[in-house]
């Protein structure tokens, strides 16, 4: 297969202006099958906006979006659900697509919330709800997953497990993932391509390229740069608390 056929969504110089203010401008990126593209950047840098542009939620954008699939799973950053709706986890799983019981159970088991299946959505904790959101997005076996801070509010061990799950899903379903995360530590080991945003694309490339980039250093500081590069080396040495390097 040529690379072109592997492209799921492609942004060409895309941007969005609301009330004469650019939320994000001039973003070009593409998500391919089986690849994880991670958007990083400070608050208000346009990460969620970029994700929504890629999803086609915004209609009046600058530039263009080419979307090559309709099988999309989305975990939004913020979701306000109106509790006037009586909605159980099971109903929520079938929100955008009818699924059979096995598929639902499998997805809920993968994210560790199968025991909540008959609970009311309003009775879940923040972390539990986040796991349900992720389960819903992966259950329909999408070609493209857009995950906007998918593990916010999830406990520490759960966070690592869920990132491993995301990586596994990307490999097994060979779906493309557009991931937004603040957590440089956990994400970087799995990411294929990093796009660093600050209202525009400040730099992009493999995690190690981005870590070396001066603009990235200016934006996040020296420490963040070390985090990224550290993950590139993690197979042959570890860093002690004192900052020494120990070979494995």
């Amino acid at each position: 297969m040529s690379t072109d056929q592997n492209i799921l969504v492609k942004l060409n110089d895309a941007g969005l202006q609301l009330n004469n203010k650019w939320l994000v401008k001039g973003v070009s990126l593409q998500v391919e099958k089986g690849k994880i593209v991670t958007l990083i950047g400070p608050n208000g840098s346009g990460k969620s906006t970029t994700a929504k542009i890629a999803l086609g939620i915004y209609k009046k954008i600058d530039g263009s979006v080419e979307k090559y699939t309709n099988r999309v799973g989305y975990v939004p950053q913020k979701i306000s659900i109106d509790w006037t709706l009586p909605l159980r986890v099971n109903d929520f799983m079938m929100l955008t697509e009818s699924l059979n019981k096995e598929t639902i159970d499998e997805a809920l088991s993968l994210t560790g919330v199968i025991h909540l299946k008959d609970k009311n959505l309003g009775d879940l904790s923040g972390g539990e709800f986040q796991r349900v959101l992720l389960a819903r997005a992966i259950s329909k076996k999408p070609d493209l997953l857009v995950l906007d801070e998918p593990v916010q509010g999830v406990d520490f061990t759960g966070e690592i497990a869920l990132y491993e799950l995301i990586k596994k899903i990307s490999d097994e379903l060979s779906c493309g993932i557009l991931l937004i995360s603040h957590d440089l530590h956990t994400v970087m080991s799995a990411t294929d391509h990093v796009v660093c945003l600050n209202g525009h694309v400040c730099c992009s490339g493999s995690p190690i390229d981005v870590a070396k980039n001066n603009e990235y250093k200016a934006l996040f500081g020296e420490q963040a740069s070390q985090i990224l590069s550290r993950y590139e080396h993690k197979h042959d040495h570890i860093h002690t608390d004192e900052g020494e390097i120990k070979k494995n």
């Binding site: 939620i57 979701i79 109106d82 006037t84 909605l87 109903d91 929100l95 955008t96």
Partner: protein
């Protein structure tokens, strides 16, 4: 045995309740109570149109209500007024204009009370056909747009992102609202139609734990309200609309005891 007119009213009311049940759930979920009210108030204009043009009431009410819905959407886009102010503006001005027009139509004898509060004597065989055929169509369309409409009610962006076209579903739903008002105006009267949409659905919310069960309880609540209300109306010679709505209110009050119990269980 009962008189023919009463049987007709009962059959009409049952038809209406089957449709207001599910639509009422969406009215509550999407917070459209005042939108429904506005469409209902504008129905008076539709009625006057029907009388002057010697046209079917349900169809002309449907046309006028749909137009008011379109005007509302345009006003929302082009003005900075908040939604509730626009709804109030359209509701009261269309009601006022309707009443003024009626004042001019001195050559027709109007039963204003019947229009405002419903009149079971007025239900004809034609009306029955409109209610049952129109009602079946409304339910069919609602079933077709259920998934995108429900998904976008839960979360618009999820529905849009995952390719369900929520804007189209919303537009179709607006038309269905105009349609239900058109077919139920004779039974319940234009001032009380929204009550018929909201109260059984509100009662159902107290009893249900899933969207499907809420729809079913809402239909049952509506059916009971219609049956109890119409018998009361017959017995005590009260207007049909207020009698049906009062029955619905009583059912709602009963449903509150269920909530109290489940709250007690939780503690």
């Amino acid at each position: 045995m009962f008189d023919d007119f009463f049987i007709r009213a009962l059959v009409a009311g049952i038809g209406v309740a089957f449709v207001t049940g599910p639509l009422g759930c969406f009215v509550i979920w999407r917070r459209l109570s005042y939108f429904g009210d506005t469409l209902a108030h504008s129905a008076l204009l539709g009625v006057t149109l029907a009388f002057t043009m010697e046209f079917n009431i349900a169809i002309s009410v449907f046309i006028i209500s749909s137009m008011i819905a379109l005007i509302l959407i345009q006003l929302q886009k082009k003005t900075n007024l908040p939604g509730d102010a626009l709804l109030g503006l359209l509701a009261h001005s269309s009601l006022a204009v309707g009443l003024v027009v009626i004042g001019f139509l001195t050559f027709i004898r109007f039963d204003i009370m019947g229009l405002l509060f419903g009149d079971i004597l007025a239900v004809s065989v034609d009306d029955l056909l409109i209610i049952w055929i129109g009602g079946a169509l409304i339910l069919l369309v609602l079933k077709l747009i259920w998934k995108p409409l429900f998904a976008s009610t839960v979360n618009y962006e999820l529905a849009e992102a995952e390719g369900l076209n929520p804007d189209r579903a919303k537009a179709i739903f607006t038309i269905l609202m105009a349609a239900i008002i058109a077919i139920s105006i004779k039974m319940v009267g234009l001032l009380l139609i929204t009550g018929m949409l909201i109260i059984p659905a509100a009662m159902a919310r107290n009893l249900s734990s899933s969207p499907q069960s809420m729809v079913i309880y809402s239909i049952i609540g509506g059916l009971l309200s219609v049956i109890i209300g119409l018998f009361t109306s017959l017995e005590f010679n009260t207007s049909s609309g207020p009698s049906i709505i009062t029955a619905a209110l009583l059912l709602f009050i009963l449903s509150l005891f269920k909530i109290k119990q489940s709250i007690k269980l939780k503690n």
